[in-house]
């Protein structure tokens, strides 16, 4: 029991008696976690924007007169990749036309009987599915014609695929760079105490006794860095979103506190575990070297 107490006290000593080094490690950890957090938010927002654009893509399927709209809508809903089906009756179509015409809405009275056909507005999960869905709809006997932005769907589909690949690459680069920087900072911190580690082993400390304070120190510093980074990412993100909403109000941004809270938790957890592993590897490597007889 005493030994555990001493180990924790030694870890605390390591943090406070090498305050400059500790501060440097926390600052480095904070910077790298900030970069990872900012990258994650950037990626998630891009994905969110693309998803929102994909969600706006729809196929208008004009149905033949006399078709039971509700029954047909139900059968379309059951099709794969369909996310939403809206029934547009002849009356709704006319209302929409009136709304679109604005001041000249009265012009529709010139049409006499409502010539607009009933239709279904079909939305699919992703832009990549739009063309296939359009092909399936046009082959159905109830459908007279379809209208959809095929060219836009194709481009959006390519953009979504690119964003997915880009996100993975960006995240891998950010996490790898952060891990390397953090590992080296912790290694420098451990190496600056090389003499101490060597003496501790010489007077009979076990490898575990020597390593544990360093690992706990890594945990404390990594956790501090991740907490500061998480706060900094949160603060600067909301400031950035406020600015962007002024400049690009038509884009949709992630603003859910709950979602951002979860993201912070992931950042803190990953940051702490990363620091812990970096400390363990650095100190173990050095202990092995220091403990080797000449």
């Amino acid at each position: 029991m005493s030994r555990i107490k001493y180990v924790f006290r030694d870890a605390w000593r390591l943090v406070w008696r090498h305050f400059g080094m500790s501060l440097l490690t926390v600052f480095t950890a904070m910077t790298v976690f900030f970069v990872v957090g900012a990258t994650m938010l950037f990626i998630l927002n891009i994905q969110n924007i693309v998803r929102a654009m994909e969600g706006q893509l729809s196929i208008n399927a004009y149905v033949k007169p006399g078709t039971d709209l509700n029954a047909f809508a139900e059968s379309v809903k059951k099709m794969e990749n369909v996310s939403e089906v809206t029934i547009i009756t002849k009356e709704t179509a006319l209302e929409r036309l009136r709304a679109r015409l604005g001041n000249q809405a009265n012009a529709v009275t010139l049409l006499g009987e409502n010539p607009l056909p009933s239709s279904l507005e079909v939305k699919v999960g992703s832009a990549a599915d739009v063309s296939d869905m359009a092909r399936m709809l046009v082959a159905m006997p109830e459908v007279e014609d379809i209208v959809y932005a095929g060219h836009v769907a194709q481009k959006l589909s390519r953009l979504a695929a690119f964003v997915r690949r880009f996100s993975i690459v960006m995240l891998i680069i950010a996490v790898t760079a952060s891990a390397v920087v953090l590992f080296n900072t912790i290694r420098v911190s451990v190496y600056s105490r090389a003499e101490e580690i060597s003496v501790m082993l010489k007077v009979g400390a076990t490898s575990t006794y020597v390593a544990f304070p360093f690992v706990i120190q890594g945990f404390i510093l990594g956790l501090s860095g991740a907490l500061f980074a998480s706060a900094a990412v949160g603060y600067s993100y909301f400031r950035a979103v406020a600015c962007l909403k002024d400049m690009l109000p038509f884009l949709s941004y992630i603003e859910s506190y709950r979602y951002l809270g979860k993201l912070s938790l992931v950042l803190i957890l990953c940051g702490t575990v990363m620091s812990l592993i970096a400390s363990l590897v650095a100190v173990e490597k050095f202990i092995r070297k220091a403990g080797k007889p000449l």
Binding site: S2, R3, Y6, R13, R17, H18, R193, E195, E196, S198, V199, M200, L201, K202, V203, G204, A205, T206, S207, Y209, G291, P293, L294
Partner: protein
């Protein structure tokens, strides 16, 4: 355990790269509770021999055993336990720079898992004996060379080791202080600890007669049960 042969060197040689023969075919037996001076000029192999005993150095040939345990065969954990049972006064003191004098001495007892109260009592005792109790809150670099040396000795003896290796423990001290330190080492020896002391201090070797082992170019050239610094054996 054979008490007559507490420490055994059997044909021990150590060659440092590229081809420096630090020790050559050493056969040495030391009984439990014995006090042995290791003498010889600089570079004769005294420190290497001591470092072999604490297993900081592994011999190129031969075996060393202490208390029946063969040092080469020890694993990491067993080695740590062995080192807790020996006290070492390093030539360069090897103090922990970020711990105070008190903490440096206490560290040895902490790794053994001793309760705080006992540690405080023991450390106070040994620091008072060494005459550095009032300097206990200072860091090693704030102490003089002599004080650092006393601190290194205090750390080496606080766990009442069964073997004490002292490499030039009086190197930085005047004769009066050296006498005090010597008296302390003799007291420790009288309590049953085997002491091996490497020294250049002719005065101490001649004054406090004990077994003298003289090294020359890595070989034992004199092993005198109660000799002085200057032996009568021709090298």
């Amino acid at each position: 355990m054979d008490t007559q042969q507490y420490i055994q060197f059997s044909g021990v040689s150590k060659v440092f790269p590229p081809d420096i023969n630090a020790l050559e075919n050493i056969y040495l037996n030391v009984s439990k509770g014995e006090f042995v001076y290791l003498i010889g000029e600089t570079g004769s192999g005294k420190t290497t021999l001591m470092r072999c005993l604490s297993r900081e150095v592994l011999p190129t040939r031969g075996t060393i055993s202490v208390g029946g345990r063969v040092l080469r065969k020890m694993g990491r954990f067993e080695l740590a336990l062995f080192r807790r049972d020996i006290g070492v006064v390093f030539q360069d003191f090897a103090l922990l720079p970020n711990l105070t004098a008190f903490e440096n001495v206490a560290f040895v007892l902490e790794i053994m898992g001793m309760p705080r109260r006992e540690i405080e009592a023991r450390v106070m005792d040994v620091l008072k004996t060494m005459g550095i109790w009032r300097r206990r809150m200072l860091y090693p670099q704030q102490l003089s060379g002599g004080e650092q040396q006393r601190l290194a000795i205090a750390r080496a003896v606080v766990n009442e080791p069964s073997l004490l290796l002292a490499d030039e423990p009086t190197g930085n001290l005047d004769n009066h202080t050296a006498d005090e330190i010597m008296q302390l080492l003799l007291d420790i020896n009288a309590a049953g600890t085997t002491v091996i002391m490497a020294t250049h201090n002719q005065y101490l070797v001649d004054c406090y007669k004990h077994r003298v082992v003289e090294l020359w170019r890595g070989r034992i050239v004199r092993d005198d049960p109660e000799g002085g610094y200057e032996g009568n054996v021709e090298n």
